[in-house]
């Protein structure tokens, strides 16, 4: 328990970041909530429309639902690549005796490259005409039937725009998980090995339960980042072809800044905030229930 004077100091020092957070996060959210009840193109008078924007979003807007489903698929691909990839690489790293730093650096490298560069890089990689790296690789190994314009094919574009995002942050989550794995007590692992535990048992019964709190944090981070995914899909395909790679975020952005329908765009942004909160709640609930069981 802190003495009274220290508690006051803590509160005083907490106030500026709290104010900053309120101004940068809470205020825009409230502003969006307010705007979502209006029809407004930015230059004419605002017109109060009540729940019309919400009714339109849930009942009549086919692009909204398409973007929502796309966002879930995008999220799933990103999570598999980011968390699955990070866990696999981090586990392998703990077994590596030499060159760990080099491997870590190489995996982390994409996280520091600018988004625009990554988007352009992958546009080139996926290109069919002129032939890009991916199609060239298929050609070299004799899988010509797999060659295609990955970003123009409505069946492949969503996975194609998700992969760079997953690739980009695998290294970051790998570092976090790797640090957690290093903290697993060696005595526990050695005792389990002496008892005849296999590598899989060692991982599922000792290592993973030990790093579960870190895993929850990284899952929440990756999920919220995934739900907010915007820049790479926007730069690579602008949501197309058609609405094949449209996400809620790209749709919200275009609704606001291309269609100048700021009221309806705010409605979509309110949905994104709620969606993120629900996702985080769901993750905490599911992981807690599993831990309890």
């Amino acid at each position: 328990m802190l003495p009274n004077r220290s508690r006051t100091s803590v509160l005083v020092f907490l106030l500026p970041p709290l104010l900053l957070y309120s101004a940068a996060v809470l205020f825009p959210i409230l502003q969006s909530l307010f705007l979502s009840f209006f029809s407004w193109n930015g230059i004419s008078d605002m017109e109060f429309v009540g729940l019309d924007n919400y009714i339109r979003m849930f009942a009549t807007d086919d692009i909204f639902w398409r973007a929502f489903l796309n966002a879930l698929v995008y999220l799933a691909i990103c999570l598999v690549l980011q968390l699955g990839g990070a866990l696999a690489v981090a586990s392998l790293l703990t077994s590596l005796r030499r060159g760990r730093e080099l491997v870590k650096t190489l995996y982390l490298l994409p996280a520091v490259i600018s988004t625009v560069a990554i988007a352009f890089l992958f546009v080139r990689i996926y290109s069919l005409e002129p032939v890009g790296l991916l199609n060239q690789l298929f050609h070299w190994v004799g899988l010509d039937s797999l060659e295609r314009p990955w970003l123009s094919d409505v069946n492949t574009v969503l996975a194609a725009v998700s992969a760079p995002e997953g690739w980009r942050f695998t290294g970051l989550y790998m570092l976090i998980i790797y640090a957690a794995l290093l903290a697993v007590p060696k005595e526990l692992e050695e005792a389990a090995v002496l008892d005849g535990a296999s590598r899989w048992t060692l991982f599922t019964k000792i290592r993973f339960p030990y790093i579960r709190p870190v895993w929850i944090t990284t899952t929440i981070m990756a999920t919220t980042y995934g739900l907010r995914g915007f820049d790479i899909p926007y730069l690579m395909t602008n949501g197309g072809p058609g609405q094949s790679s449209e996400l809620l975020t790209t749709y919200m952005y275009k609704t606001a800044f291309t269609s100048t329908d700021f009221g309806y765009a705010s409605t979509i942004s309110v949905f994104i905030v709620v969606e993120c909160l629900v996702a985080v709640g769901l993750i905490l609930f599911l992981l807690k229930r599993k831990a309890d069981s």
Binding site: L26, N41, E129, P149, S152, G240, S259
Partner: protein, 444 residues
């Protein structure tokens, strides 16, 4: 906590109310000759033009010349060449009522709303007051006009759009220059059979594909069709609309555009054509330096030619009528229009045409002669000469005509139609529904 929440909500409401209320300007947009002292200061031009392009270079030079006699004057050029990003910037500034003295815009429904609110100076009156109005090509001014004929933007360019083609590749496929728009799908099939990509197109920017949807209606029903379509008075399900929808689907079936075109950019398309990989390329005279000078690869230089938009059997528009835009226009902010802005515009607009024509480009005015560059091929002059025999009607690009939501959906659905992902019926139904939902809000 409750109190804190209430306070934040009130602050949000107040801020928004203030933003919304700060819209109207008290200035008279028709007062083009403000009186008073010229007080030099920095003025800004928010523009969407290439940073090293002729327009910007010339205006910089003219601003420097003006500043010599008016110390303290400076023209701050804020450029965002990427059009979608520019439009977002413009709309955000307009919403915040922070538009600079000069800003670029097409004659879009959004710009018309700004004009209606008195935020733009009447360009027709302004040009007339400067005694330069009659120098402008009627086509250059018409391109900038709103539906009601009013003029609020000043053109700085004049361009002609052609279909450039590679004679050797057409010969290889055994096809001739199309005499009708309806010949193009069969021509594409023949070119594909000969192993040639028929048309190189920049699919990423979406407007190049949207040009094609405008062609059949322009020939079948004239420039009025899009005026009616955008207001919901005509539909894609009408015979004229169906003709263009089916034609676009046929272009797709004949694989007219390069594989994966929707993810290919401007330079990709240009490279494909100029390297002899694609037989045709639909682009304007702004690319003359790349297509009709010695910069062009010698291997294809003598094979390049162009044809203008083909007509159709029942065409109501003539062969010399096609897309001839005068580029994005420049609007003058009525709120900040004062003796200085007026005087600078008078100085700049009088000198601009000669400077612009000297760069080898077509001036929006007729009082100057374009200087053909020394390294130009004969095609350069041939292209420029088309400007002298233009008809009175011009095909308007649809992206400047439709409301933004309809335009965005059209661009998306067109790709799907041409790629064969949706049928002409699905396309028609989606687009007619989209127009019915969105047009009334914009064209009340």
């Amino acid at each position: 906590m409750k109190n804190l929440f209430r306070a934040a909500a009130c602050a949000a409401v107040t801020a928004l109310a203030l933003t919304a209320c700060g819209g109207a300007s008290s200035t008279d947009p028709s007062n083009v000759s403000p009186t008073g002292e010229i007080k030099p200061r920095e003025i800004s031009w928010l523009l969407s033009r290439p940073a090293d392009g002729a327009v910007i270079n010339i205006m910089k030079k003219l601003a420097d010349d003006y500043a010599k006699d008016h110390p303290g004057f400076e023209l701050n050029l804020i450029t965002t060449p990427d059009r979608p990003s520019y439009i977002q910037k413009l709309e955000t500034l307009a919403a915040a009522n922070k538009l600079p003295e000069l800003f670029d815009t097409d004659a879009t429904p959004f710009a018309q709303e700004l004009a209606k609110q008195g935020k733009m100076v009447d360009a027709e009156k302004l040009l007339k007051s400067l005694n330069v109005y009659d120098d402008y090509r009627p086509g250059a001014l018409d391109y900038q006009r709103f539906d009601d004929g009013s003029l609020y933007m000043i053109p700085f360019q004049f361009e002609l759009e052609f279909i450039w083609y590679n004679k050797a590749l057409l010969q290889k496929a055994g096809v001739a220059v199309p005499t009708s728009l309806d010949d193009i799908p069969a021509m594409c099939t023949a070119l594909r059979s000969a192993g040639v990509t028929p048309i190189a197109i920049d699919g990423q920017d979406q407007w190049p594909l949207e040009r094609y949807v405008a062609y059949q209606p322009f020939r079948e029903a004239g420039p009025d069709f899009v005026q009616k379509l955008k207001k919901g008075e005509a539909k894609f399900s009408d015979p004229v609309g169906q003709k263009t929808v089916n034609w676009m689907a046929e272009l797709g079936k004949a694989k007219c555009f390069q594989d994966g075109f929707s993810a290919q950019g401007y330079s990709d398309a240009q490279n494909q054509f100029t390297s002899g990989q694609a037989a045709m390329y639909n682009i304007g005279t702004w690319e003359l330096p790349s297509l009709a000078t010695e910069k062009l690869d010698p291997a294809v230089r003598n094979d390049i030619d162009f044809f203008t938009l083909p007509t159709t059997a029942n065409s109501v528009t003539a062969a010399n009528e096609f897309v001839s835009p005068s580029g994005i226009g420049m609007a003058v902010n009525a709120k900040t229009y004062d003796p200085l802005v007026s005087d600078f515009l008078k100085f700049a607009l009088e000198k601009y045409p000669a400077e612009y024509a000297a760069t080898g480009a077509l001036s929006p005015t007729t009082d100057v002669e374009t200087v053909v560059p020394a390294n130009a091929t004969p095609l350069y002059r041939k292209a420029l000469d088309q400007a002298d025999s233009l008809g009175s009607k011009q095909a308007m690009p649809w992206d400047t005509q439709l409301d933004p939501t309809t335009n965005g959906r059209l661009q998306q659905e067109l790709v799907l139609l041409v790629q064969g992902n949706i049928t002409p019926e699905q396309f028609t139904e989606t687009m007619d529904k989209t127009i019915a939902q969105n047009a009334p809000k914009f064209f009340k």
